[in-house]
């Protein structure tokens, strides 16, 4: 690892001010630190945001659950309020990585990184989330731009994620046997008007599967998507799963999710 300057910001304003083209915000560091250790990323400045009090915590209202960006996965999975309001979100958090990762990794970090196999982005899409930054509010569908790419501008800091409480929801993951990241993860959420079927792991970026959403909005039953032959042309192929297998898994996991709702 190359030398860098470490800063601990006391508020978002200071964090933002310290940011430059050769800096990175440090929350849990679950991706940033390994990348630096492996020499894949080098930064002049690391700006630690863990100590910004405002960024941690969970608030539940009648319509939404708002989670501070620096809230750890373990805090989300252990929160009785989250478990009551959106149980699938709590179990998603419980299934991220391993205990060490869950005790350090944060929701904001996961979303800002936008790993194509990460779990949280699918929750944001399925639960019509709004990403609150120090500058603006961004709808989830406009936030995730592509592989490891988001709508965040340099120095822009996620402060909280606001999830809409659905009528029913479930997240089902087919994990990579080695890394336990999602080969395919499907987050199904039934809201008043429509159904979202957010898919992670299958393509270069999380997306809402329109075809399944439509079918399920008409009839919220796994039979309405059973045997659906999804287009696999944009799906990922790697040593663990071909695009064809992923396309099949998306339907299987979506069916499981609907049945679990």
């Amino acid at each position: 690892m190359k030398d860098f300057n470490y800063h601990s910001a006391k508020d978002s304003k200071e964090a933002s001010k310290l940011a430059s083209s050769s800096s990175a915000f440090l929350a849990g560091g679950m991706t940033t630190i390994p990348s630096m250790k492996l020499g894949l990323a080098t930064y002049k400045d690391l700006i630690d945001i863990k100590n910004i009090k405002k960024l941690s915590g969970i608030k539940v209202s009648g319509k939404s659950v708002t989670i501070g960006a620096a809230t750890k996965h373990v805090e989300v999975s252990n929160s009785k309020d989250v478990k009551k309001a959106i149980p699938s979100l709590s179990s998603l958090a419980e299934g991220i990585g391993d205990p060490q990762v869950r005790n350090r990794g944060t929701i904001g970090g996961s979303i800002a990184n936008n790993d194509p196999s990460a779990d949280y982005p699918s929750a944001c899409i399925a639960l019509n989330a709004t990403i609150h930054t120090n500058e603006r509010k961004i709808e989830a569908v406009k936030f995730f731009k592509g592989m490891f790419e988001t709508a965040l501008k340099k120095g822009e800091l996620i402060e909280a994620i606001e999830f809409q409480i659905p009528e029913k929801s479930s997240y089902q993951k087919h994990p990579n046997p080695a890394s336990r990241y999602a080969i395919v993860g499907v987050y199904v959420a039934k809201h008043k008007g429509d159904v979202n079927v957010a898919v992670t792991g299958a393509k270069s970026c999380v997306y809402n599967d329109k075809e399944m959403s439509k079918a399920l909005s008409g009839n919220f039953s796994s039979s309405s998507i059973d045997g659906m032959d999804l287009d696999s042309s944009e799906m990922n192929t790697d040593m663990h799963a071909s695009a064809e297998f992923r396309a099949s898994l998306v339907v299987t996991q979506a069916k499981k999710a609907v049945d679990a709702c």
Binding site: N176, M239, H240, S242, F245, S248
Partner: protein, 792 residues
């Protein structure tokens, strides 16, 4: 005094391991030490055109940068194959040179070309990035099956063929096949594995200019053997000026048998710079440069009668050696593989032919089971297929071909002294509720799942092995083991063993043995190992040999102590030595109440005199002191055996294989510590099941390792396993005084075919290669659905 052998004595080593007080090589820091980083080839095959170290030398903190040129100039020798194999045509195997630092060409990704030594690790790393190596990249050979058709990797080694070896009689086999009603044939791949010891390799080398002695702390399973190789072949230092210490070692599984490039380079360089050097592998280096295991491509055939008697067996295998032949690299796919490939069956005619090939991949060598997992996989997949094709129950077919008695003269090499294969099978079936399987299968079916059951009966040759036998087959050393039992004057005992514990619990098991033999409380016995300065010599630990060879050396040394004790007691108590009996730590003169404790005898041996009397307790011819040594050379291998049964449930929609039940009924002979044996069985099973369902080392066409981290190499985890159902039949070995056989490798040997037989059973007999990953199984399920639809 109650016997400790056979009881669940708590592990003496646990206190230090569980409280973080273990002392591993990376824990060792010497005054004024430097740090080494190796510059490694990023290419699988290339010529080294030029190495420019100018910029790197100017980097901060650099002490020295050494390359293949310096090591060649200093006439430091290369790494070696420890076993000479002869081809069927009588020619000797062909091995390339393997310098510790590559000089002219590199042959796998990770092959070291230079070492950077600096004041700190960070400075060494920074400087290593500045070493400029100009490569001419060549086309790599990576496929085992096609290696013989690839470009020649090593000059003068045609077809990349190290040897073309035959064991058995082709003509007899042909005759047997001519008489057969049916021939069952199979094409299988034994997938390549990476051992993944929990502790990565490491070494710390120190040079004492005053004594001209090099001390190397290293992660080795066999420090004396390492010293011998480094001295005799590496030319690092004469044996008496080289001390090798392997302190606590966190797992080996065969991957720490070899002397590695880093051991030789750091030892040599420490003398050159006259400072200590520390090197600790990063996990990615372990993936790239630790020896890998398995990697066979096999075609095998079994000739049978229609009622299921086995008549003949053919085995044509291509074994991948990787880039170079290493210590056990050539024996693993030959003498550790071929003899066991006919399994636990009486097969009148058999042969195994192995073509060992070089490829541009990491060297392949002995990994837990070494040859025997590959052999067992071959025969047990074949037998399972025969049972399907003949319509004979898989357990009945096996029993039908078990040997009729013991000793069992196995087809190719071994004479198995003891066992009861039928009893093992019957017990395993009972433990697994074999009879109830059909009902469980129906339950699974009702849930839309596929259920399969798989069986394996295995034997293995371990406790490696009689020196005369192995040396006649090409082994470069004899595989005896040594022990020294030393009493202190005040009665405690130190046992030096040439075996090496890197997870095997020797400190406990060996102390149990010595405690029983000597009648000394186990608390008063220390087991010492892993330091060439502390014992005469030792061959080390591999091939499940610690107990069956190293343990017997301890027994024999203890027996010598007792013999001397009897003589001394007789002198002290004025009796005939023949009248002295030894029991529970006491020497008793028979038909009298006169006795001496072993502690009193030890004291007398060290303080052989009495005040005011000119009198010695030592008989004429006996010297003072109480220390005995044994070099035990076994008369035969030992032959653990058993039957394992697995049940899997498959979700046809996702291809997920769930291992529902796993039953292991093993015959390890006498068991010294059941708890330790359970640990060994669990670990072996985890690795064997890992091979069947999860692990796979994969190279791409250019020779890049695709599974170079835990993100892609699937190490099994606890939640992948059911609770193991473990049982034993204990027929004592007749070839050693303890009746022990060895248990370290059994799980890794039996589990792959057991699990795969169950998976393939669930899939209606469709072949799937290891590891049976979700996608492969999903595809097979789709085929099954198609063929079922067609049939309907």
């Amino acid at each position: 005094m109650a016997s400790l052998v056979g009881s669940r004595v708590e592990r003496k080593e646990d206190k230090r391991f569980l409280t973080g007080k273990g002392r591993y090589t990376a824990d060792i820091n010497l005054a004024n030490q430097t740090y080494a980083i190796f510059v490694r080839s990023p290419h699988a095959r290339a010529f080294i055109k030029k190495i420019n170290i100018d910029k790197a030398l100017k980097s901060s903190g650099v002490v020295s940068i050494l390359t293949g040129k310096e090591i060649a100039d200093d006439k430091i020798g290369g790494l070696i194959a420890g076993w000479a194999i002869r081809s069927e045509d009588g020619t000797e195997m062909k091995c390339p040179g393997n310098p510790p630092l590559a000089k002219d060409n590199v042959n796998f990704v990770g092959d070291p070309v230079a070492v950077v030594i600096a004041e700190s690790l960070a400075e060494a790393k920074d400087a290593a990035e500045k070493v400029e190596v100009d490569y001419k990249v060549l086309k790599a050979v990576t496929s085992t099956a096609d290696a013989m058709n690839g470009d020649t990797i090593h000059e003068g080694i045609d077809k990349n063929l190290c040897f073309d070896w035959l064991l058995g009689d082709r003509q007899k086999v042909k005759e047997a096949f001519d008489k057969a009603d049916k021939v069952i044939s199979i094409d299988i791949i034994n997938n390549r594995l990476i051992p993944n010891a929990m502790e990565p390799r490491a070494c710390v080398a120190d040079y004492n200019a005053a004594s001209e002695e090099i001390t190397l702390y290293t992660t080795s399973q066999n420090p004396h053997l390492s010293r011998l190789i480094m001295s005799a072949f590496g030319n690092v230092a004469p044996e008496h000026k080289l001390r090798v210490v392997a302190p606590d070692v966190g797992g080996g599984f065969g991957s720490k048998i070899n002397v590695y490039n880093e051991d030789i380079v750091c030892s040599w360089a420490a003398k050159k710079i006259n400072r200590a050097i520390k090197w600790v592998a990063e996990r990615s280096e372990s993936f790239l440069t630790d020896i890998h295991g398995r990697d066979h491509v096999t075609h095998a055939e079994l000739a049978v009668t229609k009622d299921g008697k086995f008549l003949g067996f053919k085995n044509e295998t291509i074994a991948n050696l990787g880039a170079y032949a290493r210590v056990f690299g050539t024996v693993t796919p030959t003498y550790l593989f071929g003899p066991c490939a006919t399994g636990v069956y009486e097969i009148p005619a058999a042969y195994t032919n192995v073509k060992a090939v070089y490829t541009n991949t990491a060297p392949v060598d002995a990994y837990r089971g070494a040859g025997r997992p590959e052999a067992t996989y071959t025969i047990e997949r074949l037998v399972e297929k025969a049972s399907m094709e003949l319509g004979i129950d898989k357990t009945e077919l096996r029993i039908k071909n078990f040997p009729t008695g013991f000793p069992f003269k196995q087809t190719l090499v071994h004479t198995v002294d003891s066992g009861d294969y039928v009893a093992g099978m019957e017990k395993a079936k009972q433990m697994a509720d074999y009879k109830g399987f059909e009902a469980r299968r129906k339950e699974s079916e009702a849930k839309g799942k596929l259920r399969g059951i798989g069986v394996t009966s295995y034997f293995e040759a371990c406790g490696i092995a009689p020196s005369a036998a192995v040396m006649s087959l090409g082994c470069g050393v004899g595989l005896w083991e040594s022990a020294e039992v030393r009493f202190n004057p005040t009665g405690q005992v130190t046992v030096y063993t040439g075996s090496h514990s890197h997870g095997q619990s020797h400190q406990t098991t060996f102390a149990q043995i010595a405690a029983d033999e000597l009648g000394v409380p186990i608390e008063n016995i220390d087991i010492v190992h892993g330091d060439t300065d502390k014992g005469t010599f030792g061959m080390g630990t591999y091939g499940s040999r610690s107990l069956a060879v190293g343990g017997i050396a301890i027994v024999n040394a203890c027996k010598k102590i007792v013999e001397k004790g009897k003589r001394v007691t007789a002198k002290m108590l004025e009796a005939n030595p023949e009248d002295v009996e030894f029991k529970d730590g006491e020497f008793i003169v028979s038909k009298s109440n006169k006795k001496k404790t072993i502690g009193e005898v030890a004291f007398a041996c060290y303080l052989p005199g009495v005040r005011d009397e000119m009198k010695s307790p030592l008989p004429e011819g006996d010297e003072p002191g109480l220390k005995e040594t044994s070099f035990y050379d076994p008369s035969n291998f030992s032959f653990p055996a058993g039957t394992h049964i697995a049940e899997v449930e498959i979700d046809p929609e996702t291809g997920h294989v769930k291992l529902e039940k796993y039953t292991a009924c093993d015959d390890f002979g006498r068991i010294i510590n059941p708890m330790v044996v359970e640990g060994q069985v669990h670990g072996g099973l985890a690795q064997g099941i890992g091979q069947a369902l999860y692990e796979n080392a994969e190279y791409d066409e250019t020779g890049q390792l695709m599974t170079g981290s835990y993100m892609d190499y699937t190490m099994p985890r606890a939640d992948n396993f059911p609770e193991f159902n473990i049982g034993y039949t204990c027929t004592h070995a007749t070839t050693n005084p303890l009746g022990v056989k060895g248990c370290g490798e059994a799980g890794a040997i039996a589990a792959p075919p057991t699990v795969m037989n169950a998976v393939i059973d669930a899939l209606g007999g469709q072949e799937v290669t290891m590891p049976a990953t979700a996608e492969k199984v999903w595809k097979a399920c789709k085929n099954l659905k198609k063929s079922n639809t067609k049939a309907a």
